[in-house]
Symmetry: none
DNA sequence: GTGGTCTAGACCACC
DNA sequence: GTGGTCTAGACCACG
């Protein structure tokens, strides 16, 4: 009679929905949770707030939070079981790395293509990266991606 | 035997719609035309195909091409006149430059934010930029953005 | 100006929901469509009935059909785009084969384990397979899996 | 110094709950106990652990173990008496055989239907059975169903 | 006409 | 208490 259980910890997770964001609510929730998991701020086994609790917190419908959780489960980031809530799944480091790279590579590719269309040199693109790093660092220090 | 009146030239414009692209059709058309204009491949005064002709060519509805043209006109990239067809607008170089910078800055900002969310260091982002430059250069030499 | 379109054919697809089946409706729809695709009865590019039409047909809510379609899209079996309906996706034969084997292997493994628990010999299991083949052939000839 | 009254023996029963199994906990308990009984590893008269003890052991709620025991009692596999604990019931060999056959037949039926849905031939199904026999024999020799 | 998002609220299964 | 299924109906985006 063996078992594989443990009491999942449940930290506060600072999510926020923006009405100005054209992205649908459930996707905003998904991407924020995904980022927390990918960045290691939410570790495997960590318990997520219940769908109902999160909905109350975000002032949205349970259906919206459910949808986000369902999608994330489909992607393998979280695991949910009836009556037992939802926890962050065990994800192979390999998979994590692939996900991390995917997002950055995509955006960087777009930036480079945009630069090429604009007729910029590689050196100018490097400068823009440096400027952006400065700017974004400033942003994060005041406290927000938006 | 060929007339040489001051009528706008109408070069071949290689547009293509992709079904796999999650972007709606009219936006695909918009962004492709916008890129041609911003990159100088379509010069001011150049005549664009009629909405009907383009729709027939792309196997899409006229509503779709109309919407793309309307949006581009709203942004000031093209001008449509009754009975005179649609031509690329005269755009101050200043404005062009601003648009170009905007696109690059936006994409680079996204790349940096994605990197930060994934927990990458600035140095790793610089490396990724270099890799991307390599890759994209390779791409363009074989011939295509797609 | 090239394109990648074609008028998808739309054959009749004989789906049916069983109320006695403990499986939720949306899963019944999913598995039946998945089977049609995996068995080649629904080819890539084939158009599926619209969510609303199917719902009317099956006497269930649009939400139920939508859920089935969404899940199948998540699994890569179908592709859906706003305003353009839903079509069977192009699936690598390799992937198809893997899916096909997965289901059968799982069930066969369970059968063999059950047989082992029951103390049956391999020969007895082979006999049972033959009997089952007979019986199921009979079933399908009268016309129903249930 | 050891009493040898006619009290039921209580062997160690290796049960385990898996969080990844989509099957609810109480069903996992049920099917594992049922298998032990049907395979003769738990003989009639053998005493089962108390609901409380089992719950503590499996790190689950007593409601869960109770439900499993109740279901098994409903199926006639075990008997619970006030103050006397729970013991494996006397089951006619005939009934046991029927249950065993039922399990195998059910699983084999599912395998054949899955194969038919996937468009496999009878010969391919026979091959799969042989492969599965090989694989499962290997498994059992290293020691476990899981 | 298509699908996409969000809403509310019911009832069930599991722990 | 948890999540899971199904319902109805509104409004938007796309073609």
């Amino acid at each position: 009679m063996s078992s594989e259980r443990a009491q999942p910890k449940q930290p506060r997770i600072p999510l926020h929905l923006s009405m100005d964001d054209p992205e649908p609510m459930y996707r905003q929730i998904e991407s924020q949770l995904r980022d927390f998991i990918l960045s290691g701020q939410l570790e495997p086994g960590t318990r997520l707030p219940s769908m109902r609790a999160l909905a109350k917190d975000l002032l949205c419908s349970v259906i919206t939070t459910r949808r986000a959780y369902e999608d994330l489960e489909g992607e393998g980031f979280i695991r949910t079981r009836q009556g037992m809530g939802t926890v962050v799944a065990e994800i192979p480091e390999e998979t994590m790395a692939a996900y991390r790279r995917e997002a950055v590579d995509g955006a960087m590719g777009e930036a480079v293509r945009a630069g090429r269309r604009a007729g910029l040199t590689e050196e100018e693109l490097r400068d823009i990266l440096e400027e952006t790093l400065q700017r974004e660092v400033a942003n994060v220090h005041q406290g927000g991606t938006p």
